[in-house]
Amino acid sequence: MIAATVRSHVQISAQVERPSPLRSGGPISRIKQGLFNNAHNTVLSIIALIALSYAGWHALRWAILDAVWYTHDANLCKQATGACWAIVGEKYRLILFGTFPYDEQWRPFLAIALIMALSIVSGFRRFWSRNLMIAWAALLPTVLVLMLGGVFGLRPTGTHLWGGLPLTLIMAIVTVAFGLPGAILLALGRRSKLPAIKALCIGITEITRGLPLLVVLFMAAIMLPLFLPTTFRIDKFVSAQIAMIIYFAAYAAEIVRGGLQAVPRGQYEAAEAAGLKYGQRMRRVILPQGLRIVIPALMNDIIRAFKNTTFVSILGLYDILGATSAATQDPQWVQFAPEAYLFVFALYFVFCFSMSKYSESLARYLSQGRNY
């Protein structure tokens, strides 16, 4: 009885509903909340606003208002006070396709279009199926035929002619396609009970991870030709590709190992109790769960591998960075190199940013219904 009266008393006094302290109103109050909620923040905001508007105004004038957007005459650019985006229009064939024969550039263009289309399709979860895997498996030979030529009446174009965006994309995709299985093998080997195999996998992983990528690339470029029979000629692209795969596999192996460790012990034991062989245990029970956990981390590594393809330009390959550096050697346009680099910068940003945002949403999707 007493409790009931007390409760009713409390309810009466709490009848007046107060607005939530946060996000109480329209944009003005939100600005107030976010920028001017106390003296300390107000000062910070004012300083930041002044700096931003000063920098923003100059950036706007340089990049848009005073910029030259399209011309074939470098002198027009030199007279302007703003950016010279015309260099992108002037050199885009060289930047995007490198030294690929001009008349044949529809082939790399088609290759890029195919890769991008399939990548975008793969982004939608409703298309995830065995057919998609088959499509990816079919894509690689198609792209190789397009790029290498020599069959179906296409002019042969060796890897020494490859360049620009197709080189970058192919290198990234092949790195992941071969590096990921390698990483899984290394990770499984490292968790193996057999000491010799364990030591071997630890050695490969740790030595590769302790070296800079540039050193691995150089080792491949210099030592592979030495270590292979003299009759076997290995070209620059292939040796760089091998180095990229090994480097990616070593880093991804540690991530995969983390995933394998995160699978509860009971799963291992249950799989063993069910009488499955090692291969079956891993393929059917452990790996599907372990890989699921580390897919977001693997995406980060894939993004890094994509960014790292620029390193091959130091070996003298014309990836998109190497091609841009070559394109800006033109003495007429040399002073507008920053604009060309900014263009490549933006290109990479679009690719990597969308991949990282996608991996975030994937992480949310994959962690649904998991309690470990």
């Binding site: 600005i31 976010g34 920028l35 909620n37 923040n41 910070l44 905001s45 930041a48 606003l49 931003l52 009970k193 057999l194 000491p195 010799a196 195999i197 071997l200 030595i207 991870r209 302790g210 070296l211 800079p212 990528l213 540039l214 050193v215 150089f218 080792m219 210099i222 030592m223 030709p225 030495l226 270590f227 292979l228 029979p229 003299t230 993004i303 960014k307 790292n308 393809t309 620029t310 390193f311 330009s313 130091i314 960075l321 550096s325 002073q335 190199a337 920053p338 680099y341 900014l342 490549v344 910068f345 990479y348 940003f349 990597c352 940013f353 990282s356």
Partner: protein, 404 residues
């Protein structure tokens, strides 16, 4: 069921089944041995095959393996070097000079990247919308673009700056031109270095002093004004060092002589581009680590800290930082190692660090194989020693058992 044969001493022994290959294969131990032997044999065969090829192709090219070349005269100059290096020095000294440059640029970049990263990480958590958004935008831009393009971009910007005669400058304190940045610097360099070193040691000392003060407060209940005392102590140490080195006050201002600057502290465009590229890129990663570390501290911890009357810097020092550091240190170690390794990108802008110098040595001496191996071994050692150092630090900040 007769499970065994009775032996003379009365123990039962399993009957020895007839040997079959299937039975051997069914035994896990035997299979494991077989796999291991096969793996080792395959690796050994691959190594033998490659070594055989190497010997053959090197004989064909007239190359000889050996480290004797390290004592030959280098005969090339380095554009800049922290350690003194002359063309008459040996290849070995060139390696050491390259390593010195790698360490120097890594150290400088590491310090600035950490400072900027911590600042950005805290800014990301600011309640001020502009500041936190600004930090987020910075992180997204620098993490999602290749580092090499960033470094090449900065270098291109430096090469496009006006020449030395039209240098941008602030009075005669700093000059920025396509020759890099030249700063006014204390004339007595050794003295200045000693003062700086004293201050650095003092900073490390403050850490131990603060720990001691904490222990003392726990024992006696008396708080010490740690912050004020630290500042005072640091100032006193700096002053003492300055007085001990003869209290030099002369400042050396850079002067334009011909087409270049004399005097002052000169930072080359190569150094600036590489360190800028390293600092801005790794600061973005470090800021994310710092942010997640701070966020990992439970909300209850912060509220409890407020409840006992801590606020602002005290809250950070006593509640947030000790707990956040446990989360922060291991991934930041990986970033430091990564930073040292990526300093090899100096080769793209011509900064003479280890990788770049090794390349020069390779082409000049012709001993490619040895150079690659030496270079790789040095990088491996560097990575290992940094991780050992940071592991020691990690042990110091990690949770010590449940008793504490």
């Amino acid at each position: 069921m007769d499970a065994g044969v009775k032996t003379r001493d009365g123990r039962r022994r399993k009957p020895r089944a007839a040997f079959t290959w299937q039975a051997l294969w069914r035994s896990e131990k035997a299979r494991g041995r077989f796999y291991q032997v096969a793996a080792v044999a395959a690796v050994a065969a691959a190594i033998l095959f490659m070594a055989g090829n190497a010997v053959q192709s090197m004989a064909a090219r007239g190359m000889r393996i050996g480290l004797g070349f390290l004592w030959n005269e280098a005969g090339f100059t380095l554009a800049e070097s922290v350690l003194p290096f002359h063309p008459t020095d040996t290849f070995l000294q060139a390696f050491i000079a390259g390593l010195g440059n790698t360490l120097w640029i890594s150290l400088v970049s590491l310090i600035f990247a950490t400072a900027l990263g911590v600042l950005l990480g805290i800014a990301r958590l600011s309640s001020n919308w502009l500041i936190s958004r600004g930090s987020a935008v910075y992180v997204e831009i620098f993490r999602n673009t290749p580092q090499l393009i960033q470094i090449v971009f900065w270098y291109t910007l430096f090469t496009l700056l006006p020449g030395a005669r039209q240098a941008w400058h602030g009075m005669d304190w700093w000059f920025l031109s396509n020759r890099g940045l030249v700063l006014a610097w204390p004339a007595d360099r050794p003295a200045f270095t000693i003062v700086l070193l004293t201050l650095a040691i003092g900073l490390a000392g403050i850490y131990f002093f603060a720990k001691w003060a904490d222990r003392r407060q726990r024992r006696t209940g008396q708080p010490l004004p740690v912050f004020g005392l630290s500042i005072l102590g640091l100032a006193a140490a700096g002053l003492l060092a300055w007085l001990a080195t003869g209290a030099p006050t002369a400042i050396e201002h850079p002067k334009l002589v011909g087409f270049n600057f004399r005097g002052g502290m000169a930072l080359s465009p190569e150094f600036l581009a590489l360190s800028l590229g390293l600092v801005l890129y790794f600061a973005a990663y470090i800021s994310e680590i710092v942010r997640s570390g701070i966020q990992s501290v439970g909300k209850g911890q912060i509220e409890a800290g407020r409840a006992v009357g801590l606020h602002g810097a005290e809250l950070y020092r006593h509640i947030i930082m000790p707990q956040a550091l446990r989360v922060i240190v291991p991934p930041i170690t990986a970033q430091y190692i990564s930073l040292i390794k990526t300093s090899a990108l100096g080769v793209a802008v011509g900064y003479p660090e280890l990788f770049n110098v090794s390349n020069s040595i390779m082409t000049l001496s012709g001993h490619t194989l040895e150079c690659v191996v030496i270079m790789g071994a040095v990088y491996l050692l560097l990575a290992l020693s940094v991780s050992a150092l940071m592991n020691a630090f990690n042990k110091a900040v990690a949770l010590r058992g449940a008793a504490r």
